[in-house]
């Protein structure tokens, strides 16, 4: 785990990632606090904090006596959240770097088109 962000945030992001890439399906049981703590070798309280972050946002739901489950519609909700954050997380730092090295917006759009074509995203 890297030191950049709080550990519990990283735990939450990792579960989000699994939901987004489908390795954790909706309605499926999510890893428990103790499983996360043992796997990452962290204090269970930290793991619980990460899970609670997802419960608060409706990504995970608690089923009494059974554990934590991925909520119905969780993947789409996460995708929508990420779309809203896309500009802040990716475009703002990209524009800062572009200004540094003297790339114009036109240059960026040109590069973006080329890369999109290479990676198969079409307009």
């Amino acid at each position: 785990m890297d030191e950049g962000r709080p550990l519990f945030v990283q735990i939450a992001e990792e579960i989000e990632g699994s939901v987004l890439d489908g390795s954790l399906q909706e309605e499926e049981r999510a890893p428990s606090t103790n499983e996360l703590a043992a796997f990452h070798r962290i204090n269970p309280a930290t793991a619980a904090k990460g899970i609670n972050l997802l419960v608060d946002r409706g990504i995970l739901v608690k089923r009494r006596g059974l554990g934590m489950f991925v909520a119905a519609g969780a993947a789409e909700r996460l995708r929508e959240e990420r779309r809203q954050q896309f500009a802040d997380h990716y475009l703002t730092p990209m524009l800062a770097e572009a200004r540094h090295i003297g790339l114009s917006v036109e240059n960026i759009i040109q590069l973006l088109r080329e890369r999109a074509q290479q990676s198969g995203i079409h307009e």
Partner: protein
């Protein structure tokens, strides 16, 4: 605060402990929350072992009170069986084998678990026929660690017994500690100066220096205690004016400065405008910086 609502396992109030010419603990007030893993950190001679010895009733305080589960532990047959204190310089009878030490522990602690102990004995490859006195430092440490874990005491202190363990055995210890804590929540206090190794295991940090408590906080809150800023020295100087600087290094026109306190949203915005980088401060770095600062202040007090 200890991140749970289970209350306090240990309360230390205004405890002072003097040896002949030195004050090992100076008016220490601190508490340890129930069912949490605490880190007791500090330099050698800071007072860690003295504090643990007083809480576990192996030493009397010169002044002040200690309570474990609401009762004074000293000469208290109700509380003492709930407390396990494992220390690096643990002494054993002359001819004792490991099994004798485990038997004694099994008799002393009501929650002792032989299945768990035997699993640990196999994990740590404790020799059966070697007298403890003749064991290597690592083997002795393993015996001590096994007693600390398998006793399942409600309060367990580890005073760096794992220092004798090599990296592989230490990892084994951390893994077994976390597993068993998850299955049987109880109160642990780990003293260590391998701070980064235990940073993710502990929920709370108590930092002691020169017999005084410098810090007593949840680990997660400590992330906001300080931040390191890297970039052009003139921009950093402008940004850090009026802030308390914990540490400063420069290389040519580049500086790396650690300041105390979290940055506001506006300050983070300013950092981006000035094109500076923010780096988190690891627990180890923070502890070193805070201890260094405390020592500098003490020196200044003496001089003035």
């Amino acid at each position: 605060m200890s991140g749970n609502t289970a209350g306090q396992a240990i309360e230390v109030r205004s405890v002072t402990r003097r040896y002949k010419n030195t004050t090992a603990l100076d008016d220490v007030t601190v508490s340890f929350g129930k069912d949490a893993i605490h880190g007791l950190l500090g330099r050698n001679g800071a007072g860690k072992t003295t504090l643990m010895s007083i809480i576990t009733a192996q030493l009397w305080p010169s002044e002040g009170q200690v309570e474990v589960f609401g009762q004074t532990p000293h000469e208290n047959e109700q509380v003492l069986p709930k407390i396990c204190f494992v220390r690096e310089d643990q002494r054993y009878p002359e001819d004792a084998l490991a099994k004798h030490a485990f038997k004694a522990a099994a008799d002393a602690y009501e929650n002792w678990d032989w299945d768990f102990a035997n699993r640990l004995i196999a994990d740590f490859k404790v020799p059966q026929k070697t007298k403890i006195k003749k064991m290597s430092r690592g083997q002795k440490s393993a015996v001590a660690v096994i007693i600390g874990l398998a006793s399942r005491a409600e309060v367990t202190f580890f005073d760096e017994p794992y220092m004798g363990l090599d990296a592989v055995a230490r990892q084994l210890f951390y893994d077994r500690l976390l597993e068993d804590y998850a299955a049987h929540p109880r109160t642990f206090v780990l003293s260590s100066h391998l701070i980064d190794e235990i940073a993710h295991l502990i929920e709370n940090v108590v930092l002691i220096d020169g017999g005084r408590i410098l810090l007593d906080e949840p680990v997660e809150d400590l992330r906001d205690r300080a931040v390191t800023i890297v970039g052009r020295a003139d921009a950093i100087a402008e940004f850090t004016t009026g802030r308390e600087i914990l540490h400063e290094e420069t290389m040519g026109r580049i500086a790396r400065t650690t300041v105390l306190g979290a940055l506001t949203e506006a300050e983070q915005q300013r950092v981006r405008e000035l094109d500076l980088d923010l780096q988190p401060v690891s627990l180890q770095q923070l502890i070193v910086r805070l201890t260094t600062r405390a020592n500098a202040e003490n020196t200044a007090e003496v001089q003035s």
